[in-house]
């Protein structure tokens, strides 16, 4: 069924058309959506924008943004989806394969502007457009990879919906569901794993822009969500604000970055034991997750069961290369994975062959009883005194030290007698006053000699990328 058909059903069915979409400022029911979509359709038609053009869409978590995205999917218009630039440093130029840049503003343009929702839309033609006609029904996304240069991921609308259907099935999105979305709509996670599944189920949606603790608590009181998709950083934030456990969540999903086992176990009871860690990527979409009924142990340490149709495989590393037995590279075969990568001109950098196995770049191990545990990034390992050391293993162990709140371990450029230099950057737990040298001493009790970081530095906070992930390149640059 096409998205247009799916949407038609949702906006007319008695079960769903009274459900609401809100952003805290504006609200509409599903039944009212077609009228708003028509406004957007007319606006685009007036400017000669049909499905033969690819748009560069910059959106926020607002109702006008949501309506725009629904209209684009309904018409099969291709677009690249980006969040607003937070500073001049991460300002990405409009790709050359986009004819126009369409920005959803937080405030309307001015008195002379047309009405809702078009008053929030700012359209500009792209001076760098290469004139090539667009391939319809594509979604483009920049990867938020923490290492290396960004590439543009290509998805088809059809597979995007397949991915969304998997999430509907896995997380139980239903008309009665109330989904709060505090993560950006402009990423595969917020858009593909929460927003689209909620829409396809006709669930009520609350879009939170520029998330902070107080805003979340206020909106949670008002909206009474039963589903939330967050990040580990948001879980950490909510720990400071939750005074009583929440019992109304059917499922509370975290993703985007590895969540420490400590944080998982600490936060889980605050959301009624319904915390789930989702494993996925911009390339594959939602890949695997536990079920809320799984034990805490399973949910805190494994990635659970693959989504429907997804297969996972761990290829063992050669014996002599690893002292971590059973650890290997994780590969994924996904029915709704990406088409490939393109560059700013829309030229293929890589095309994924059908039924191919995608190298996730993660290292994993398979438990005897079946579930897979992701242990770290394959490129985040170093050779020390002949041992293969996973930086994430060092992080995992150091996280258990009472003095440490957060830690990121990176490899440096240089080498010493042991091998590549390792540096640990730590954010102390509040109230802990140890310095780097003292913390390093503690490492001797918990880490084998070859895995002890050459230096431990204290930071107020770990630098992050716009996606929220730790900026490991920035940290690596600080290490000699």
């Amino acid at each position: 069924m096409s998205f247009a058909n799916i949407l038609d059903q949702i906006v007319t069915s008695g079960q769903t058309r009274q459900n609401i979409l809100t952003d805290g400022q504006f609200t509409c029911t599903y039944g009212e959506v077609p009228a708003w979509l028509e406004q957007i359709e007319q606006f685009l038609a007036q400017h000669g924008i049909g499905s033969g053009v690819c748009l560069a869409v910059e959106c926020i978590n607002s109702l006008p943004s949501a309506l725009l995205l629904l209209e684009l999917l309904r018409k099969g218009t291709s677009f690249i989806l980006t969040p607003p630039a937070t500073g001049s440093s991460d300002l990405k130029p409009t790709p050359h394969f986009c004819g126009y840049r369409l920005t959803v503003e937080a405030a309307p343009a001015g008195d002379a502007a047309p009405s809702f929702p078009v008053c929030f839309l700012r359209l500009e033609s792209n001076p760098g457009y290469n004139g090539r006609p667009a391939t319809p029904e594509k979604l483009y996304l920049r990867t938020s990879g923490s290492m290396g240069a960004a590439k543009i991921v290509v998805h088809t609308h059809e597979k995007l919906l397949g991915n969304a259907r998997n999430c509907v099935e896995k997380y139980g999105f239903a008309p009665e569901s109330r989904a709060v979305i505090p993560v950006p709509l402009a990423h595969m996670y917020g858009f593909g794993a929460e927003f689209l599944p909620a829409i396809m189920a006709g669930a009520s949606i609350d879009l939170l822009d520029r998330m902070n603790l107080l805003k979340y608590l206020d909106r949670e009181r008002r909206f009474q969500p039963t589903i939330a998709f967050v990040t580990p950083a948001i879980c950490d934030m909510l720990l400071k604000g939750y005074k009583t456990p929440r019992t109304t969540y059917a499922v509370f999903v975290t993703s985007g970055q590895r969540i420490s086992e400590e944080l998982f176990r600490t936060f889980d009871p605050w959301v009624g034991g319904r915390l789930i860690n989702q494993y996925g990527s911009t390339e594959m979409g939602a890949t695997a997750a536990c079920d809320p009924d799984d034990s805490l142990d399973r949910r805190a340490t494994t990635i659970g069961r693959p989504m429907s149709g997804v297969q996972l495989r761990v290829d063992a590393l050669p014996e002599e290369a690893s002292t971590a037995p059973g650890v290997g590279e994780l590969y994924c075969q996904h029915p709704y994975g990406f088409e490939g990568y393109v560059n700013e001109h829309g030229e293929w950098l890589h095309q994924a062959a059908p039924d191919s196995w995608y190298r996730t770049g993660d290292l994993a191990t398979v438990r005897p009883d079946g579930p897979i545990i992701v242990v770290g990034r394959a490129d985040a390992s170093v050779n020390r005194s002949g041992y293969l050391v996973l930086l994430s293993d060092i992080e995992r162990i150091m996280e258990k030290l009472a003095a440490i709140g957060e830690v990121a371990v990176v490899a440096g450029q240089g080498e010493n007698q042991q091998g590549q230099r390792i540096a640990a950057f730590c954010v102390p737990r509040p109230g802990m006053l140890l310095d780097g040298a003292q913390l390093r001493q503690l490492c001797f009790d918990v880490l084998p000699q070859y895995a002890i970081p050459d230096e431990v530095r204290m930071l107020e906070a770990l630098p992050t990328l716009p996606s929220g992930k730790v900026d490991r390149q920035a940290l690596a640059a600080l290490v000699p």
Partner: protein, 87 residues
Amino acid sequence: MENIVEELRHLMAEKLDRNIKLEEIDPDAPLLGDGSKLDSLAIVELITLSEENFGIEFGEDDLTMEAFANLRTLAGVIAARRVPAGA
């Protein structure tokens, strides 16, 4: 209450580590929303600093956008929390 406002101004300038000067802190200026100097992490820090400094614990009903609208409203919440139960 003015004492609480003053203490909060000092907390923001000295303990919050966001490079905010004491003179710039207007107790009636919005703490949140566009144009605010406080990012989401700073808000959490302010909550922790307030609790530690004033020896209180914010309740569920205190942690709202309204309570933290500006330093004066925040001072009001802190003053209320400081009153011992039964007094």
